[in-house]
């Protein structure tokens, strides 16, 4: 459609030109819009859509990413849990566009945690992805963390930002769950910090910790109202009262995590940046890749035999790993085989890895202790009638 007039004067002044000579809304603010400061969501898998390891991990008593990608549970001697991907079909979070959530259920309670015990959800970030906060400079930016949360418990809970590059310097924010078993949207603003820069590299620079319960070592000192202070564990969960570990009736769930540069409130928070499942999965692959979980004869890589008991397997990647990965073979008892065109030999263990940073291919030595493969032949490595067999490549922070 042709425009009858464009106001050139507005273009010169930087104001938004309006077709047909209109004089109404000429700025983003006047139009009720918010300028997003970053191009892509900083939090990966904030909508909890990707769960490569498992959609439900049971009997969890210790640290690790056990179900939903990028979501690390810090659990120290404080009960037993099921950590699962919860499908949402109704409620405010669902109506906001979220079909999945990360949920933790207490299955064995700890009614009286010892001093050093803790329970929290942790999200870890690379320093090179945090440079836009300009931390440690005179022009440092505030952090705005937003998320949907639901629990049977109500009351105040704490979120800790911990700087891993500067002696665990930290800031504590808080939110309040007002209604039990109801999805609520929370916004936590953390102060700008002119002290201590994040390293511009692939190392762990920032933890975001949602505290759910703890012993006395993590309570006792005033938080500092989102201000950055020298590390003091006594501050981390002070006044955090959810106490999810104390009863098997307790649960807590979260979705829609977003982190923005600068300070926002409910009235001007940029909308959550939904990604396609494929884009989300590729970003998760930077930290973890599971080659199994598909068909019963899924292929994991190809390569060449280097002895009667070992082969090099090369696996292509959708995204370069953050760092050279650790590798575990899942279900090696005949579940994965090396096939050289004549013989299938069961993989018994994983040997050395060869990976170069920022490349899209990884080479792994795989072993078949029973022999049976002939030195020099080409091979392929696949699951042997077992959809649960595969390799776990772990480059998490």
């Amino acid at each position: 459609m042709a425009l009858s007039k464009i106001d050139v004067a507005n273009m010169v002044t930087g104001a938004t030109p309006v077709a047909n000579g209109g004089t109404g809304q000429t700025t983003l603010a006047a139009a009720g819009l918010v300028k997003r400061p970053n191009a892509t969501s900083l939090i990966i898998n904030g909508d909890m859509a990707v769960a490569q390891r498992s959609t439900s991990a049971t009997s969890i008593t210790g640290n690790g990413v056990n179900s939903i990608d990028r979501m690390y549970w810090a659990i120290n001697s404080i009960g037993t849990y099921t950590c699962a991907q919860e499908s949402l079909t109704s409620g405010p979070a669902f109506e906001a566009g979220f079909a999945n959530a990360m949920r933790i259920d207490t299955t064995s309670a700890d009614a009286s945690p010892a001093s050093a015990d803790y329970l929290y959800l942790q999200y870890n970030m690379e320093g090179q992805d945090l440079q836009l906060f300009k931390k440690g400079t005179s022009s440092a930016e505030k952090f705005t963390l937003a998320f949907w949360v639901k629990s049977n418990k109500t009351g105040q809970a704490n979120v800790e930002f911990k700087d891993k590059d500067n002696s665990n310097r930290h800031a504590i924010g808080s939110y309040t769950i007002s209604s039990a078993d109801t999805w609520e949207h929370k916004i936590v603003v953390i102060n700008a910090d002119t002290t201590g820069a994040f390293g511009d590299d692939n190392g762990k620079s920032l933890n975001i910790n949602w505290w759910l319960d703890s012993g006395d070592n993590f309570t006792g000192v005033a938080e500092g109202d989102a201000a950055w202070l020298a590390n003091d564990a006594d501050r981390a969960n002070n006044d955090g009262a959810l106490q999810i570990a104390r009863n098997t009736a307790n649960d807590w769930a979260i979705t829609g995590i977003q982190l923005e540069v600068g300070e926002y409130s409910a009235s001007n928070l940029p909308s959550f940046q939904h990604e396609s499942y494929g884009d989300n999965l590729v970003r998760c692959h930077r930290y973890f890749l599971y080659t199994g979980g598909g068909s019963a004869y899924q292929h994991h890589g190809s390569g060449v035999e280097v002895s009667s008991t070992a082969a090099y397997m090369t696996t292509p990647l959708s995204c370069p790993f953050r760092a050279s990965p650790s590798i575990t073979a899942n279900n090696t008892s005949g579940g994965i085989v090396i096939y050289d065109g004549n013989t299938e030999s069961a993989v018994t263990s994983v040997g050395t890895t060869n990976y170069s940073t920022n490349t899209s291919i990884v080479n792994v030595a795989v072993n078949a202790s029973g022999g049976g493969i002939d030195d020099g032949n080409g091979i392929t490595v696949y699951s042997n009638a077992n959809s649960n067999a595969g390799f776990l490549f772990d480059a998490e922070l």
Partner: protein, 57 residues
């Protein structure tokens, strides 16, 4: 949780190029020689606690 650690050699060059962790649950994890790898960092802490890495098979 680490139970034991041994060195891994590349099957062609026979050079020391990684570690194998065996966890207390019996899981075996191949770990590269990369300081940015969290399991490699865990091995360094495990050794600092007074534990010893076994030689390659």
């Amino acid at each position: 949780m680490i139970q034991t650690v041994k060195k891994l050699n590349d099957p062609v060059r026979n050079n020391f190029e990684g570690y194998e962790i065996t966890t207390i649950e019996g899981t075996k994890i191949s770990v590269p020689l990369d300081e940015a790898n969290k399991d490699y960092q865990a091995i360094l802490e495990w050794v600092a606690d007074g534990n010893t890495i076994a030689e390659a098979d």
